[in-house]
């Protein structure tokens, strides 16, 4: 076994390098697999699909959650209610990001790196934005145009009403 690695370097698609503690990296199943595979000696991990802006956010999430896990272990296993609530609050704040610039890209990055907590969090955030909204409202939230022709729109609405209204 080689000497224990304490930090790894990840490289964004922009070419910027960032150090991550192993604990933080283990939040990602992808990185975890690389780290636990002795046959791979890691120097730098390129994450081609993730820009610097997004990678910074992702690393922030991983570090926070790794720290929380370590603190919980140190306290003997169970997170107290207030600690769990504090983490939830942090998560909620963390997710207050611009939809177009960040939210969707964070979601895709979490999917790619297999960071379950962040992926679930981002998906839920998006789902909450959609819940109970009309198509028009959804277009506004996600900055989309209505690319349907009037005929297509009419046909689809009718189809829907026939079955489900």
């Amino acid at each position: 076994m080689s000497s224990p690695v304490e930090q790894i370097t990840v490289v964004s698609s922009d070419g910027d390098e960032f150090k991550m503690t192993v604990a933080a990296a283990m939040q990602s199943e992808q990185l975890k697999q690389m780290l636990t595979d002795d046959s791979i000696s890691i120097v730098k991990v390129p994450v081609e699909n993730i820009s610097t802006e997004i990678l910074v956010k992702v690393i922030e999430y991983c570090q926070k959650h790794a720290d929380h896990e370590a603190a919980t272990k140190a306290n003997g296993g169970g997170a107290s209610d207030s600690e769990a609530e504090e983490l939830n609050k942090w998560d909620a704040e963390f997710m207050k990001v611009d939809v177009e610039d960040k939210l969707f890209h964070i979601l895709m990055a979490a999917n790619y790196l297999e960071i379950k907590g962040l992926f679930d969090l981002a998906c839920q955030t998006v789902a909450d934005l959609i819940k109970g909204k009309t198509p028009k409202q959804i277009r506004k939230i996600f900055n989309l145009k209505n690319d349907f022709t009037p005929e297509e729109q009419e046909r689809l609405s009718r189809q829907h009403n026939c079955s489900f209204d």
Binding site: S13, D14, E48, N49, S51, E100, F104, L107, M108, N111, Y112, C123, Q124, V126, A127, I130, K131, G132, K133, T134, P135, I138, R139, F142, N143, L144, K145, N146, D147, F148, E152, Q153, L156, S157, Q159, H160, C162, S163, F164
Partner: protein
């Protein structure tokens, strides 16, 4: 550089949306440019593409970003999120733009359930829905207490929608009182893979309907014909002869059933885990003694089994895996029967002795000794033979007790 990164984002490396995206087809794309985005780029094209980008002006860049956002990014992300959304929200998404529409309708796992519970005009709505391509792989249909569903609708399904129904796994016709044997024949002929069939409270259903069911659907595992009063022993024979893998069966209030029919069932449906004989008072010990054949039985409802004696109950107690046992109004039972259950059914969690006057504190003590931690539900209302059945006493005997009432 932002535009270059955004485009590279989708072109290089592993597919970013993971398995979900890999498994579906975005369909025909309107332009070469769009196609190019989705394929891994051979080296020669790479340098050509860089040349292409350097020629693109600011307006074109903004347009391309828009293009990518609305036609690529948003649909892909919404697909990842879609499993967390209600059907209502999914419909709203379908109407947002054609790219989302296309992406979502191709994901067949989103369109596996059709729920028309309590809806009006449900027969016509179901036919309309099943004519939509996205429901061609429907797995579950729920028409519980739906209105305006009758045999003619089910016959139309057979002529027009049988393709969409062939993968159907679960059909709920509870409370659809206008349906008769004919309708059952029509709909079940379209779904040979059906595993769960439920049609409670339908007095038009007869043994003929059950005959159609066993002929058309060979793999039924969960069957609910509660309240279908016109079912006789003949149906139990059909079930016994055809459903050896049956796991749950609800025969509540099928009052025409007798020992003879039930015996056949007990001898052949050996995989049964749940058997509901609520309000069936004609059975006798002769058949109750055969209950021990059902070694996998976990739930047994014998509410109203007025002929059940301690001897019969003793046989039943040989079903060691019982978790839930309802003996409400089993008025012939005494301590002897309950104690045999206590000693043998050590996994019991829910027990009702409602209305059994022949049971005393002795039964409770024995139960407490053998399985006190597991019991979470115990109904001893009306058990006047038990002197101390206060809440405090019960909690003392059964520390995990949460529910004190089974029978209402």
């Amino acid at each position: 550089m932002a535009i270059l990164n955004t485009l590279l984002f989708y072109r290089t490396g592993k597919d970013i949306t993971g398995q979900v995206f890999r498994s579906h087809n975005l369909g025909k794309s309107p332009s070469f440019f769009f196609h190019w985005l989705l394929l891994p780029t051979p080296p020669i094209l790479h340098s050509a593409s860089q040349h292409f980008y350097s020629k693109v002006g600011m307006e074109e860049i903004a347009e391309t970003e828009d293009f990518t956002w609305s036609r690529e990014t948003v649909p892909r992300v919404l697909l990842l999120v879609s499993s967390r959304l209600s059907q209502g929200d999914l419909f709203s998404l379908l109407l947002v733009n054609p790219w989302i529409y296309r992406t979502l309708v191709s994901a067949s796992s989103l369109w596996e359930v059709l729920n028309f519970r309590e809806r009006k005009n449900a027969g016509n709505r179901l036919i309309a829905a099943l004519s939509l391509p996205r429901y061609r792989n429907v797995k579950q249909i729920n028409l519980e207490f739906a209105q305006d569903v009758d045999d003619t609708h089910l016959t139309i399904l057979k002529t027009k929608c049988s393709d969409s129904l062939k993968g159907l796994d679960s059909l709920n016709l509870n409370g659809c009182q206008k349906i008769s044997d004919e309708g059952v024949e029509a709909v079940t002929s379209c779904c040979p893979q059906l595993k769960t069939f439920s049609i409670y409270w339908n007095v038009r259903l007869t043994d003929a309907g059950l005959r159609h069911l066993v002929k058309n659907c060979k793999g039924i595992v969960h069957l609910n014909i509660s309240g279908c009063k016109n079912i006789s022993d003949q149906s139990l024979e059909f079930i016994a002869d055809n459903y050896s893998e049956l796991e749950s069966l609800n025969l509540t209030r099928c009052v025409k059933l007798t020992d003879s029919g039930l015996k056949q069932l007990l001898q052949k449906c050996l995989s049964l885990q749940s058997l509901n004989l609520y309000a069936l008072s004609s059975f006798t010990d002769k058949v109750y003694k055969k209950m021990s054949l059902l070694v996998h039985l976990k739930l047994l409802d014998l509410c109203g089994a007025q002929n059940l004696s301690d001897e019969g109950l003793s046989s039943i107690s040989k079903c060691k895996n019982l978790i839930t046992l309802n003996l409400t109004w089993c008025v012939r039972v005494t301590d002897e029967g309950v104690i045999s259950v206590a000693r043998s059914c050590t996994s019991i969690e829910s027990l009702s002795l409602f209305g059994i006057t022949g049971v005393t504190d002795k039964s409770l003590e024995t139960l407490s000794k053998s399985g006190s931690n597991k019991i979470t539900t115990l109904d001893v209302n009306g058990c006047i033979g038990i002197k101390n059945r206060s809440r405090e006493k019960l909690l003392q005997l059964f520390p995990n007790l949460k529910c004190f009432k089974v029978h209402s």
